[in-house]
């Protein structure tokens, strides 16, 4: 899976699960302030991402450092690489 695939699929989760317009899905968008998710929405996001990518995110400590959409895309990319090793 390429970086572009990961970015596209992560963005798809935001569009499908939260109906956020594609134009707002820029890497520097803050997930809380710009995209408007709260802690409960994050639980839904994690479930949707786990389903989409077949990875386990929930117990990963690195999730706590994620602030922007770009951070999230890079995190998923790292996870996919780790699984692929």
């Amino acid at each position: 899976m390429t970086e572009q695939d990961v970015i596209r699929l992560v963005n798809e989760v935001f569009v499908d699960s939260f109906e956020i317009e594609k134009s707002r899905l820029v890497p520097e968008a803050n997930i809380f302030m710009d995209l408007g998710l709260d802690s409960l929405d994050i639980v839904d996001l994690v479930v949707a991402l786990q389903k989409k990518f077949g990875v386990t995110i929930r117990d990963d400590e690195r999730v706590r450092t994620i602030r922007t959409l770009g951070d999230l895309q890079q995190f998923i990319l790292t996870l996919k690489k780790e699984i692929g090793k």
Binding site: S17, F18, F32, M33, G36, L37, D38, L40, D41, D44
Partner: protein
């Protein structure tokens, strides 16, 4: 002249606020304690919440009048019957008192600090008010479900904290998840003019006209296809649009 009006308002309001609060706490407290042997727990809670509503309405409608006035418009005459989920924008510490304009048994969903207020915090706890940040979401969901089943309306300020500017902040989704669980009608409430009662960072009230608009309820039929995220943003957009109009007029 402006300074004199502010001085007069606060000089009159705060002493009466303290005296009135003491009288209200003692008299309502005695009435409730005396009624314990004769009334069911449910009726005592109902009476306590009614007393809080009267207290709140008196604090905000009578004590600061005429320098602080309330203009309440109800656009929800055709709403289905309750219980309701009242959701409001939040600019002022006086907002919980403003919920006293609604003639229902209401439990408010509050942030941490109201529970830490002397006397008022204790009474809010006894009345079953919900401190949403001090309980796991599962417990919050269970309690709100029980309240709605018992016919009790809920009032929440989904921004979570007072707005520091006139736009409406991002909403938290907890109360909207309650809506999706209970199918209760959501009533958007828009409040303006309250940002000076008192302004953030000052204890002094300013003369003001507080406008409260109760908008038509959003029924389960309207939102049943939404998820919590879409519902909170749908409600936020309705409130933000009305608040903008209210600020301009």
């Amino acid at each position: 002249m402006r300074f004199l009006r502010i001085a007069w308002l606060n000089f009159c309001f705060y002493p009466f606020f303290i005296i009135f609060s003491l009288i209200a706490f003692v008299s309502f407290g005695c009435l409730i304690i005396l009624s314990i042997p004769f009334l069911s727990k449910r009726k005592i809670f109902k009476f306590l919440r009614l007393a809080i509503r009267w207290y709140g309405a008196a604090i905000i409608r009578i004590l600061p009048w005429p320098l602080i006035r309330l203009e309440y418009k109800n656009f929800g005459q055709n709403d289905p019957s309750g219980p309701y989920l009242f959701i409001s924008n939040h600019r002022s510490a006086c907002d919980p008192f403003l919920m006293g304009v609604f003639p229902y048994e209401i439990v408010q969903v509050v942030n941490i600090w109201p529970f830490r207020l002397p006397a008022l915090g204790i009474i809010a706890k006894i009345a079953g008010y919900l401190s949403v940040r001090e309980m796991p979401y599962e417990e919050f969901a269970k309690k709100t479900l029980q309240l709605i089943d018992a016919g009790v309306s809920l009032a929440a300020f989904p921004e979570g904290t007072r707005a520091r500017h006139k736009s409406v902040g991002q909403f938290h989704s907890a109360i909207f998840r309650t809506a999706l669980e209970t199918h209760a009608a959501i009533v958007p409430v828009c409040i303006t003019g309250n940002e000076r009662v008192p302004p953030i960072g000052s204890p002094f009230l300013r003369p003001s006209l507080i406008k409260i608009h109760r908008l038509p309820a959003i029924t389960w039929e309207e939102y049943k296809t939404f998820n919590a995220f879409k519902l909170k943003n749908y409600c936020r957009a309705i409130i933000a649009k009305e608040v903008l109009l209210m600020d301009q007029t």
